[in-house]
């Protein structure tokens, strides 16, 4: 018997699975209503991704797939640089992006840390490991009608796969296009920020695997401090375009617990320039919805009242 099997057999069984059709049906009906006791809150954790040191090795993608036992996506040439993962999906929770910025016919040397770049003479690669942003006020969390999406004790946005029923509200509401509904199980999936590893005191697999320390993991406050120092350092070293994306809240979006150091516009990296939380419109939309209905009822009432006799 393998050591892993020994470990599993040693674990205490909390309950036997239901037997018989009726018992299974009852279990299926009752199970989602059994709410467990939430764990004690812990310091908020997250990622800080420094894109200036990313080398596009995709070790984070591989580590994520390996640890979370995510299946292969097949292989297709995308034609988009070295990016053949193409997007975050139900089975790709990490996605390394490649941006080639080379001016046609330019003889300029490759200089990733150039001073203020002019579009015409820019010659550089940008690479970025993308993933769930673990928003503080996450639209997916707000949209989820089953309570499957929660903020866990580490303040990470976590999908409880045994509760999700695949309504896709989270998919529609994510402004970063992170969450995807799997066509196999019909449930939504995304980065868990290696919740299981965190509970055991380990860092997420992607951060562990990153050979250049582009992906930093830790308490969010410490990460912000570290990121700001790095931006200052880059400014001193002649990269004035370096800035942090998502480290603080804006008027239309909360801060991200997974934020980035970028050196070009967010849209260049496939991120929204000004993310907007759709819930800012909700009360107004409800008001207009109710007003539209009340206007119709008032008109109907008036006609019926005037013509009833």
């Amino acid at each position: 018997m393998a050591s892993r099997e020994k470990e599993l057999s040693a674990l205490a069984q909390t309950s036997d699975p239901p037997r018989g059709l009726l018992a299974q049906l009852a279990g299926r009906l009752i199970y989602p209503f059994l709410h467990g006791k939430p764990p004690e809150p812990r310091p908020a954790t997250g990622f800080y991704t420094d894109t200036t040191v990313c080398i596009g090795c995709k070790a984070c993608e591989v580590a994520c797939k390996q640890w979370n036992q995510l299946p292969s996506d097949g292989f297709n040439w995308s034609g988009n640089s070295y990016d053949n993962t193409t997007e975050l999906s139900a089975t790709s929770w990490r996605h390394v992006k490649f941006i080639e910025q080379f001016s046609d016919g330019s003889l300029g040397a490759l200089d990733p840390l150039a001073a203020v770049p002019q579009e015409s003479i820019l010659n550089r690669w940008l690479m970025m490991s993308d993933h769930c942003k673990h928003c503080l006020a996450a639209p997916c969390h707000q949209a989820c009608p089953t309570g499957a999406i929660i903020h866990n004790e580490f303040q990470n946005v976590y999908i409880q796969a045994d509760i999700c029923n695949g309504c896709s509200c989270c998919v529609a509401s994510c402004p970063f296009g992170v969450i995807t509904r799997s066509s196999m199980g019909g449930h939504s999936h995304k980065c868990t920020l290696c919740y299981d590893r965190q509970r055991d005191g380990l860092e997420p697999a992607c951060a562990k695997a990153c050979p250049t320390q582009s992906i930093h993991f830790g308490p969010v406050d410490e990460l912000r401090e570290m990121a700001r120092k790095r931006v200052e350092e880059l400014h001193r070293r002649g990269v004035p375009q370096a800035y942090l994306y998502g480290d603080t809240s804006s008027q239309t979006y909360s801060e991200l617990h997974s934020f980035y150091l970028l050196v070009d516009r967010p849209s260049v990296y496939g991120l929204p320039d000004s993310p907007f939380n759709p819930w800012l419109h909700m009360m107004g939309d409800y008001t207009r919805s109710i007003a539209g209905g009340l206007a119709a009822i008032a008109a109907l009432l008036l006609v019926v009242f005037l013509m009833r006799s």
Binding site: V171, V268, A295, F305
Partner: protein, 311 residues
């Protein structure tokens, strides 16, 4: 990871670059399209038909019981049938339909889907009671005050069931949808409009002349009134439509919606109060209403390049 081994939902197209200029990410859509297709357009239509019929019947019956009670007693069972079909579509549209009841494990006021689920669930109870008691009354078992109590109890959740749908489809990050501030106003108003039309046809079918005369006027007024939220909704969606369709395509669809959804039903209703004309008006109205919903649901699924090239 449990239960998933395919790369992504079929709705999400691999964002491969079409041309050399598309290399990179700046021109690619950031958001992912949810798997909400034509079934959602039918769901939005049936939701409006069911809740609108109940609300129109309830309001009319409560104001003028002598005129509308016989028609309302047929309208409630009809609304229940429509609602059951709608609920069936809602369940089938889930990624895991056997988990539909998971929606009822929590109530989240900031989730329009949660609000809608609870409204529909609560609404189904008085509606079932009103429908059942209406059928029983026809069989000679009359519990009139209980039936009226059920009708009263159904008003608020019925209205909520009509009102949530537009908010659900506009409170999200999808291109086009996120700008549709008047979708809710249009859908709720449209529900009452469709409900009045259905009640009108039922009245004509049952030979209740006075009810039909009143509802003809009400239906005509509501048809005109509905143009306001519809116009506002189109104004909201204009930038998105301009990106997706040519000006000619926009005019063609707009004219079709206006003709089928307003002009023809209004003309038929004013022209003749006969059953055939009123039924025709209802069919055209439903087609126009479905078309609005279909065009709306299609927005995030539509690729500008495909549409503009006429594919």
């Amino acid at each position: 990871m449990p239960g998933s081994s395919t790369p992504s939902h079929p709705s999400t197209k691999t964002p491969s670059p079409a041309t050399a200029s598309d290399i990179g990410y700046a021109n690619m859509p950031v958001t992912k399209v949810p798997g909400w297709y034509g079934m959602i357009a039918w769901d939005a239509l049936l939701n409006g038909m069911a809740t609108g019929l109940f609300l129109a019947a309830a309001v009319s019956e409560l104001v003028a019981p002598a005129v509308f009670t016989p028609v309302a007693k047929v309208a409630y069972p009809a609304a229940l049938v429509l609602l059951l079909v709608d609920l069936g579509l809602l369940v089938l549209d889930l990624g895991d339909p056997l988990r539909f009841h998971h929606m009822l494990r929590v109530f989240k006021p900031h989730s329009p889907m949660s609000v809608g689920t609870w409204c529909l669930t609560i609404f189904s109870l008085p509606l079932t009671a009103a429908a059942g008691l209406s059928v029983l009354a026809e069989l000679g078992f009359d519990f009139e005050w209980v039936r009226l109590l059920a009708v009263l109890a159904g008003l608020l959740p019925g209205f909520g069931s009509a009102a949530y749908k537009g908010v659900l489809l506009s409170t999200n990050a999808q291109p086009g949808w996120k700008d549709a501030r008047w979708l809710g106003g249009y859908l709720t108003n449209s529900a009452l409009l469709m409900g009045s039309a259905e009640l009108l046809v039922l009245s004509a079918l049952m030979g209740h002349t006075q009810a039909a005369v009143i509802l003809r006027v009400a239906f005509s007024v509501l048809l005109v009134l509905n143009l306001i939220p519809l116009g506002l909704l189109f104004a909201n969606l204009q930038p998105a439509h301009a990106r997706l369709y040519t000006r000619e395509q926009q005019w063609r669809v707009g004219a079709l919606i206006f003709a089928a959804g307003t002009l023809i039903p209004l003309g038929l209703t004013l022209l003749n109060g006969g059953l055939l004309f009123l039924f025709g008006a209802l069919i055209f109205l439903l087609f126009g209403s479905w078309l609005v919903r279909f065009v709306y649901v299609k927005i995030p699924h539509t690729s500008p390049l495909e549409i503009r090239s006429g594919e």
